[in-house]
């Protein structure tokens, strides 16, 4: 274990520290998520006023003076205590943040949109209450404030937006306050109040483009969907619906995105020790997708798992694809127990953490309870073959669509090596099979539990369980 670095001379919140303001049953509090470790710290609003002065330009005395100007200063020792606690949690950096490198905007890159999909949004606002962050640009935030100056009807209206990363709000992306886990601008009936007041254009681009994902593979930008909302899974195969990109959009520049598409790196980690060229990864991904029959493989989790084994055994050689496609139940893959145990640990921690600070009215807290119960059931059953098959035809259809969306959208190329990402996706499908959404919840949530799993994985940091897998 590396020793703790010295206390920063001019501290600021590190880039992986995501501070979010919440109203929890009417009480204001600030939560700092550690995007690297998945931990969280909670602060009283006054402590946040102290921390927000730590922007990398001020020493301790300067932070005290900034806190005094904000009306938050009591004691120098308290300022030091708050900052030292964050430092001990690994959440501080020293000096001003470096500007991110200006990437190739790729405005002319053509779009490739997931075929055969259009969204049927049920306008319930469910997706506006499951994410840790609803992101605005500075301009979008100013426009939202002008449209609805006091969405909270609370003193926290004066502090509606927080920095998206770190502690500096100048020029960067902003995160809006959440009210019992829901976006501050979400109305009680589930409709966006910005949209209702001033049209769809008043919403942040991220909300307007949800649930589309944009990944630049060096040749084209793949537009796929995140299966994090029940509406997405319910839309699969339905005619009509809202297209993923506006009619006539042909290239990235037509989309007017405020955050550029993520770009696949030139070399992609396919295992812990091996990499492959981006073009080879794209070819592999497309070949796997092309090999799928109309209904997809017999069993999607086993397909993911078998693909992982194939990648580990022979890089991106497609020789094992037929075997993977033919994987049949009953299925009891080796090493699964380590994954289900890690998932169980993380899910339990997520539930406990949610119960500590989230309102019972917060959907994330309820979802964390479902996922925790499912993870325990999955782990308890992992030693027994066969694992439960999808309990309903809808779940099997969801899994098949999910597989296509993930492959088409290059979602498997991310922070984890490809083989790890494939096993992770297998676990997510298995977990969803064990999720029992209570009858009082929306029917769409009950019918499409994979959406809850996906939302908590990416939107709430549940995916950090992968780091806990004993290898």
């Amino acid at each position: 274990m590396s020793p703790t670095p010295p206390f920063p001379l001019r501290p600021r919140l590190a880039e992986h520290a995501l501070a979010r303001r919440h109203l929890v049953d009417g009480v204001e509090r600030v939560v700092i998520h550690d995007a690297r470790r998945g931990d969280l710290s909670t602060l009283e609003p006054r402590a946040w006023e102290i921390v927000s002065g730590a922007d990398g330009t001020r020493d301790l005395d300067g932070i005290c003076l900034a806190a005094a100007r904000a009306g938050a200063f009591h004691r120098r020792s308290e300022v030091r205590f708050v900052l030292e606690a964050l430092h001990a949690a690994g959440l501080l950096a020293d000096g001003i943040a470096e500007a991110p490198p200006a990437g190739d905007a790729g405005e002319a890159r053509p779009l490739a949109v997931l075929p055969g999909f259009a969204l049927h949004c049920d306008a319930s606002g469910a997706c506006c209450g499951v994410y840790g962050t609803v992101r605005f640009t500075d301009e979008e935030a100013r426009r939202a404030r002008a449209t609805l100056p006091t969405p909270l009807h609370h003193p926290a209206d004066a502090r509606l937006f927080m920095p998206d990363h770190g502690s500096d709000v100048r020029g960067g992306a902003l995160a809006v306050t959440m009210v019992d886990g829901r976006c501050a601008f979400l109305g009680e009936a589930g409709a966006c109040r910005l949209h209702a007041a001033a049209g769809a254009g008043a919403k942040p681009v991220g909300c307007r483009s949800f649930p589309a994902t944009f990944v630049d593979d060096g040749h084209e930008v793949r537009v796929s969907v995140a299966c994090e909302c029940a509406c997405v899974l319910a839309s699969a195969g339905l005619p009509g619906g809202e297209p993923m990109v506006a009619a006539g959009a042909r290239c990235v520049g037509d989309l007017r995105l405020t955050t550029p598409p993520s770009v696949l790196p030139d070399r992609i980690h396919i295992t812990e020790t091996a990499t492959a060229a981006r073009a080879d990864f794209v070819a592999w991904s497309d070949a796997v997708r092309a090999a799928l029959s109309g209904d997809g493989p017999t069993d999607v989790p086993s397909f993911f798992w078998a693909l992982a084994a194939g990648v580990e055994a022979g890089a991106l050689d497609l020789g094992g694809l037929d075997d993977a496609l033919c994987a049949v139940r009953p299925w009891a893959p080796g090493g699964l127990g380590a994954w289900t145990a890690a998932l169980r640990t993380r899910a339990a921690a997520k539930r406990v953490a949610s119960e500590v600070w989230r309102s019972p009215n917060d959907r994330v807290r309820r979802m964390a309870g479902w996922i925790d119960a499912a993870a325990r059931a999955l782990d308890d059953g992992a030693a027994d073959a066969p694992l439960a098959a999808p309990g309903a035809p809808e779940l099997a259809r969801d899994e098949a669509f999910y597989l296509r969306a993930v492959l088409f959208g290059h979602h498997l190329a991310g922070a984890q090596p490809l083989a790890t990402a494939l096993r992770d996706r297998a676990l997510r499908c298995l977990l969803a099979r064990h999720v029992r959404v209570p009858s009082g919840e929306p029917e769409s949530a009950q019918r499409h539990p994979l959406a809850a799993v996906e939302a908590l994985m990416r939107g709430q940091g549940m995916d950090a369980y992968v780091a806990l897998v004993a290898r």
């Binding site: 005290c64 003076l65 005094a68 009591h74 004691r75 020792s77």
Partner: protein
């Protein structure tokens, strides 16, 4: 002419005690001056829109004191004494009156 009051500080009075008392007496921190060759470190507070200034001089034990200046220095000193007396952390004050300057004596009865 502005008044000035000096209050000596018992060694048992901590910086936290001073900051608590300053806050209780409605002073707001406005500046922190590090020690220099010619002067000790100081924390400077104001109230009354800046008309009354509190200097917490943090030198060696003999130099630690509060200096209150401004037209309302007497009342501010009185508020600070009360704050120290009421402070949970500092018990029975630990504050000693460092004596008033000439300005205070001249100004004191005039209000």
């Amino acid at each position: 002419m502005k008044a000035q009051v000096e209050l000596g500080l018992d060694p048992a009075v901590s910086r936290d005690d001073v900051e608590d008392a300053a806050r209780a007496a409605a002073f707001v921190l406005v500046n922190l001056v590090p020690a220099g060759p010619a002067h000790p470190a100081q924390a400077i507070f104001t109230r009354d829109g800046g008309a009354t200034v509190l200097y917490f001089v943090e030198g060696a034990a003999a130099e630690r004191r509060l200096v209150i200046s401004g037209a309302d220095a007497e009342r501010a000193a009185s508020d600070l004494r009360r704050a120290f007396e009421g402070g949970a952390q500092c018990g029975d004050v630990g504050l000693s009156d460092g004596g008033a300057g000439d300005d205070t004596r001249q100004d004191g009865g005039g209000r």
